[in-house]
C-alpha cells in the first residue's frame, strides 16, 4: 500500500434543505392523492437524493432501489399483515375461547418473529442497493442464525425485565456488522455489553440528577460508542472510525431542529433532516490505511424489498 493512503478521511454531505423540500412536497402531495400507494416511490426519491449528495473521496454514494421494487415489497408486506389479521379475526369469530386465545397468541408471536425477518430483509435490501464507485455493499447474515440470536436475546431481555437488552443490542450490532461487506472490505463492531450497560446506567442517572441537562452528553456518548467501535478491514489493514460529536454540538442540533420543525409546523422537516445528516457525517472521522482504488466487487444482487417494507410498517429504525 502507498503511504499517502494512511490518513484520516471524512464523508461529506452536500444535500440542501430546499432541494429536499421540493422532493418532500411532491412526495406528500402524490402520496395523498394516491391514498398512500405512492409511498414506495416517495421513499426511493428521498433515499436517492440523500445517497447521491453523500461524498467520500470525491465520489458519491448511490441508492439503486426503485419505487417499483419497494412497491412489490410493500404489497407483499401488506399481504403478510392481512394474512395475520385474517387468522386473528377468524380465530376470534369462532367464539370458542380456546381457539380465540390460540389465535391471539399466534398473532403476537408471529408479529414478534416478523421483527428479525424485517431487519434481516431490510439489511439485505438496503446494503445490496447501496454502492460507491460502482462497488455494492452487501449483507451476508443468515436469517436462521439471526432469528436464533434474536429469539434467545429477546427472551432473556424479557426474563431480566429489560436489563439484558444492553448486551442484546451489542450482540445484534456485532452480528450485523460482521456480516456487512463493501466489496472485499469487511466490517466489525468492537463494543462490549457490560461497557454499554455502564454507559447507559451512568447516562440515565446523571440525566435524572441534572434534570435532563446531562442528556446531551449522554446522546453524544451513545453516538461515540456506536461510531468508535466500528471497524473496517481491507486485506488485513484495519480502518477505524472516530466520533468528534460533542454535547454542545448535539445541543445545537436537537434544539435547532425542534425550533425549525415547530415554528414551520412541520414544513421545515427537510432542513432539519439535512442538518442532522450534516452533523452526523461531519462528526465521523475514518482513520487508517485504506486503498480506495483497490476495492473489488464481491457481492450479489438482491432486489426483494419485503423486509424493508415490513420494517417501515412496524416502524423499526435501522442503525
Amino acid at each position: 500500500m502507498e503511504s499517502d493512503q494512511n490518513y484520516s478521511r471524512k464523508i461529506t454531505f452536500y444535500g440542501e434543505g430546499n432541494k429536499l423540500f421540493g422532493i418532500y412536497i411532491v412526495n406528500v402531495l402524490l402520496t395523498i392523492f394516491t391514498l398512500g400507494l405512492y409511498y414506495p416511490w416517495a421513499k426511493a426519491a428521498v433515499l436517492r437524493y440523500v445517497y447521491q449528495e453523500t461524498e467520500f473521496e470525491g465520489s458519491r454514494f448511490s441508492f439503486h432501489g426503485t419505487g417499483k421494487e419497494m412497491f412489490k415489497g410493500f404489497i407483499k408486506a401488506i399481504g403478510i399483515f392481512i394474512g395475520l389479521y385474517a387468522i386473528l379475526i377468524g380465530a376470534i369469530l369462532t367464539k370458542i375461547n380456546a381457539i380465540a386465545a390460540i389465535g391471539v397468541i399466534f398473532f403476537y408471536i408471529a408479529l414478534l418473529l416478523l421483527i428479525p425477518v424485517a431487519i434481516h430483509g431490510s439489511l439485505k435490501y438496503r446494503m445490496s442497493r447501496t454502492s460507491w464507485r460502482g462497488i455494492h455493499f452487501g449483507y451476508r447474515g443468515i436469517l436462521k442464525d439471526f432469528m436464533e440470536e434474536f429469539v434467545v436475546g429477546g427472551l432473556l431481555t424479557i426474563a431480566t425485565l429489560g436489563i439484558y437488552s444492553f448486551w442484546f443490542t451489542i450482540k445484534l450490532r456485532k452480528y450485523i456488522f460482521s456480516n456487512i461487506r463493501f466489496g472485499n472490505i469487511s466490517f466489525s463492531y468492537k463494543g462490549d455489553g457490560t461497557e454499554y450497560f455502564m454507559l447507559n446506567l451512568k447516562g440515565y442517572f446523571l440525566s435524572f440528577l441534572t434534570l435532563g441537562i446531562y442528556s446531551f452528553w449522554f446522546v453524544s456518548d451513545l453516538f461515540a460508542y456506536f461510531i468508535d467501535n466500528m471497524r473496517m478491514n481491507q486485506e488485513g489493514y484495519v480502518i477505524k472510525f472516530r466520533s468528534t460529536a460533542s454535547a454542545g454540538g448535539y445541543f445545537g442540533l436537537i434544539v435547532g431542529n425542534l425550533l425549525i420543525v415547530i415554528f414551520t409546523l412541520g414544513l421545515g422537516t427537510p432542513w432539519a433532516t439535512v442538518r442532522t445528516l450534516n452533523f452526523v457525517f461531519s462528526n465521523i472521522i475514518i482513520e487508517g490505511t485504506i486503498d480506495v482504488n483497490a476495492i473489488q466487487q464481491t457481492e450479489m444482487d438482491y432486489k426483494d424489498a419485503t423486509g424493508e417494507d415490513i420494517s417501515d410498517m412496524i416502524d423499526i429504525g435501522l442503525i
Binding site: 452536500y14 426519491a45 470525491g58 482504488n293
Partner: protein, 362 residues
Amino acid sequence: MQKFEISYYDGETSVSHNAFLSLQHDSWIIEYIHPLFGNRAVKWEIDRVERDMGFTSIFIFRYGDFPKQTLECKDERLLNSLKKFYPDKPFFDKKIDFLLRQSTTLILGLTASLIGLIICSYVYILPWFSEKAAGQIPVSMEIKLGEMMYENTIARYTKNDSLTACVNDFVKIIDFKTDYPIEVTVVAEDEMNAFAMPGGHIVIYNQLLAKMKSKEELAALLAHEVSHIHYRHSLKNIFRTLSGYLAISLMLNDVNGIAVVLADHSNMLVNLNYSRNLEQEADEKAIEIIKANHLNLNGFVDLLALLQTGNTDLQPFKLLSTHPLTKERIAFVKEMAKGQTAMKKNDSLEQKWQTIVAFEKR
C-alpha cells in the same frame, strides 16, 4: 465532436478512471487510460444506458448487467447535448425531474396547495367525514358512549332526585316515537338550559322547569330534545366538534381513544351549538310528536318564548348560542299551531304535571 469529462467505474473495482465520453448515433464511447493496460475504450449501446435519477446536479449513468458500469459527469452541458442527440430517449427527460429542477415558483405553489389541502380537509372534509362516521356507530355503542358521557357530566351537578322521578313519570305517558330509552335528569342550576346526550339521556336545569307554566311546554321541550337524540344530532355534533381528535384516534385505530376523547369533552354538551338545519329537523319531529300525542302546539310557542326571555338573563350568550334562531322558530311553530286539530284532554299527563309543580314549590 464534443467530449465530456467524466469519472468512469468498471463495476469490478473501485478505481476511479478519469475518462472522456463522446456521444455517437447509437452508442456512447468512453475512453480512458488504464494504469496497467494503457489506452482503453468502452462502448455503451444507447438502448441499455440507464440514468440514475437523484435530483442532484450530477449526471450518473449506468450500463449493463449487475455489477453495472457507472459514469459520473458534473458537466451541465451534457443534458443539452443528450437532448439534441437523442430527442426521443426518455431517460434524461423525466417529468418529475423537470418539475423539481425548474422553478421555485412551482414548489412554492405546491407548498401552498398542500397547506390549502390540509386546512380544507381540517375545516370541511374532516367534520363531514366524522359526521358520516357518527352515523355508522351501532345504537348499542352509542348508548354506551352516552352513558359514559352522562356519568362524567352529571358528576359536576347537583341532582334533584324527586323532580327527576316526577319528570320521568311524565315522560312515560308521552309516546316519543323513538327506540332510544329516554331518561331525564333534573339538576339544580340557576340558568335556563336543557341538553340531550347520545343514546337517550336528557338533562334539564330546574330553573327552566320552574319557569314553565304548562305541561305542553315541558312536553314540547322533551319532544325537541328527544328529536335531537332520535336523529343522532348530539352524536354527530360531538363528532364534528371533536373531529380533529377523533381522526387521530381513528388513524391510530384506537377505539378506547375515542371513548376517552368523548369522556374528556362531555362538559361541552352544555354549550353545544346545533346548526340551523338540525334545529329545524328537531322542531319538525317535535311537532309531529306533539300532534301525535294530541297536545296543544301553543305550548311549544310558549316554550320558545320562554327561552327567548332567557336571552335577557344574566348569561345571555349561553342560551343565545344554544338556540340561536328562536325568532324564526317561534314563527314557524306558530304557523303550524294555527292549523292544529284533534287536540285531546290528557288527564293523566295533567296529573303528572301537577305533581311536578307541587314538588317545584317545596
